[in-house]
């Protein structure tokens, strides 16, 4: 599995999600820290296109061989895309955490809420204090 990293061009949430912002569309995934804690992901339950996700609420589940974890939405909005590859290759979450392992894309209800997310430095400081 790839080495620990937290790309500078992403924003982060304390529940260990990353966000890639593109105007009012955001892509969500889980961070290196989260996939490392979970272990090899073997199954994902993700929402459908058109579903609403609420900031701070669970929008799905990731399962490893030994555990199940809720995925928390860092921001709220309407799901516009779901990563189809995850169903057949859930290990993308571990192996391509910030690229091929993306989970859903969301049209943000409130794009300004992104200002409340952490940058890579602040997130790593947060991790160091855990």
């Amino acid at each position: 599995m790839p080495a620990e990293s937290y790309p500078d061009d992403l924003r982060y949430h304390r529940d260990h999600d990353w966000v890639r912002l593109d105007g009012d569309v955001a892509t969500f995934g889980i961070t290196w820290y989260a996939q490392d804690a979970l272990g090899e992901v073997v199954h994902a339950e993700l929402p459908a296109v058109g579903d609403t996700v609420e900031a701070g609420e669970s929008y799905g589940e990731l399962e490893s061989v030994k555990a199940v974890s809720d995925i928390t939405a860092p921001l709220g909005g309407e799901v516009t895309e779901v990563n189809e590859k995850i169903a057949d290759s859930p290990e993308l979450v571990n192996d391509e955490t910030y690229d091929g392992g993306w989970l859903i894309r969301v049209r943000l209800g409130d794009a300004s809420a992104a200002a409340g997310l952490l940058d890579a430095t602040a997130y790593q400081e947060y991790l160091a204090a855990l």
Binding site: M1, G39, E40, V42, H43, E61, E63, V65, K66, V68, A87, E91
Partner: protein
């Protein structure tokens, strides 16, 4: 000791190898080194070595050892020739399972019971009742003994490359046969058995020598270190029960499908209850199932035939070899028949499963 957890003689090695450690029944054990899926596949295709030093070893020696064990264990001790081992159940008065174990006959009056780590104390206490006033010694050798499992198609080849001069090839040892062999200069008791469904051995050595054996085995490129996570996915694919999940003092050996390990005519403790169950037929049976949808079954999930609850999952996982959810469950009556389609409740959602035949791996070829 960190957090009061017990450590095996291989603890330092496990940590050096970067294992993810967990509390397993009070022991600090590796759940994986690099990844459960990779380790599982290594055992199915080449070889894996597991630290199982946490397991218990109870020695029984003396003229009464045979009779005491014949009454306490479900298997027929008469069928264990010196130099052989047998899978057996330690049963209670109700025909329930205090532990499942392997009994090694080291000599005429010399037996070794290898028991699950979490049950070593319970087994010892259970047997103290039986040995009181009898002509035998019961000694707990667990702390003095280290143990490894070396499993996979390459396992015997790996071991043969390490055996001392004058040790006969281990490929000549039959399944459940055992032998004393010097491995990397350390005296070992080797038995050809395992918990993975692959060829291989379990190796016992003095606690202060087991790390040398482990290092020598790992020096062979064909072997990877494997943790308890892979041990569980491997055994579940071949439908071996896990005490604490699938079997317990409250589960009947006939219901658990372990009648084959019960020599009912030897009159062992609880055999009358088991004979009655066999005659009337068990009301529920421990059977394997495959998930047809994508979902991971977990212990405690309920199984339904329409709206009727008919069963409960006792073990479940995502099978690395089959790329499908699999599990074991107690299912009542006709719903336990092979081919029955049932619904699994996965945290409020229903997913389709099918009752299957043992073993789940290898999968049956289409004829």
């Amino acid at each position: 000791m960190r957090d009061g957890l017990k450590r095996t003689p291989l603890h330092a090695r496990n940590v050096e190898l970067g294992a993810r450690m967990i509390d397993f029944g009070g022991w600090d054990m590796p759940v994986f080194y690099e990844g459960i899926g990779d380790e599982h596949r290594a055992v199915r295709t080449s070889a894996g070595v597991f630290d199982v030093s946490h397991m218990g070893q109870l020695a029984f020696t003396g003229p009464d050892a045979h009779d005491v064990l014949q009454h306490a264990l479900s298997g027929d001790v008469d069928r264990i020739a010196p130099g052989r081992a047998q899978y057996s159940l330690l049963t209670n008065e109700g025909g329930g399972i205090v532990d499942d174990l392997i009994v090694y006959r080291r000599g005429d009056d010399d037996y070794l019971l290898v028991v699950n780590a979490a049950n070593t104390g319970a087994v010892h206490e259970h047997l103290l009742v039986d040995v009181a006033g009898r002509d035998l010694a019961l000694v707990d050798e667990s702390d003095a003994t280290g143990m490894l499992a070396l499993q996979g198609p390459a396992a015997i080849g790996v071991l043969d490359a390490l055996r001392g001069d004058g040790v006969a090839p281990l490929s000549g040892v039959e399944r459940f046969g055992m032998t004393m062999a010097e491995i990397a200069g350390v005296p070992c008791l080797v038995v050809r058995t395992g918990y993975t469904g692959e060829d291989g051995v379990e190796i016992m050595a003095p606690a202060d020598g087991i790390a040398t054996v482990f290092d020598a085995i790992l020096a062979d490129d064909r072997v990877r270190p494997c943790g308890l996570g892979a041990r569980d996915t491997l055994r579940l694919e071949v439908c071996y029960p896990l005490h604490g999940n699938d079997i317990s003092p409250d589960t009947n050996a006939i219901e658990a499908g372990l009648g084959w390990a019960c020599a009912l005519d030897t009159g062992f403790r609880g055999s009358d209850v088991l004979r009655a169950t066999k005659e009337t037929g068990p009301q529920r049976r421990l059977v394997p199932f495959r998930v047809t949808d994508r979902a991971v079954p977990r212990q405690g999930f309920a199984l339904f035939a329409g709206e009727r609850e008919v069963g409960i999952v006792t073990s479940g996982t995502m099978s690395p070899s089959l790329d499908q959810g699999i599990g074991l469950a107690y299912i009542e009556g006709d719903a336990a028949a092979v081919g029955t389609v049932l619904q699994l409740d996965v945290r409020g959602r229903r997913r389709e499963v099918e009752v299957a035949k043992k073993p789940l791996y290898p999968p049956e070829k289409d004829t």
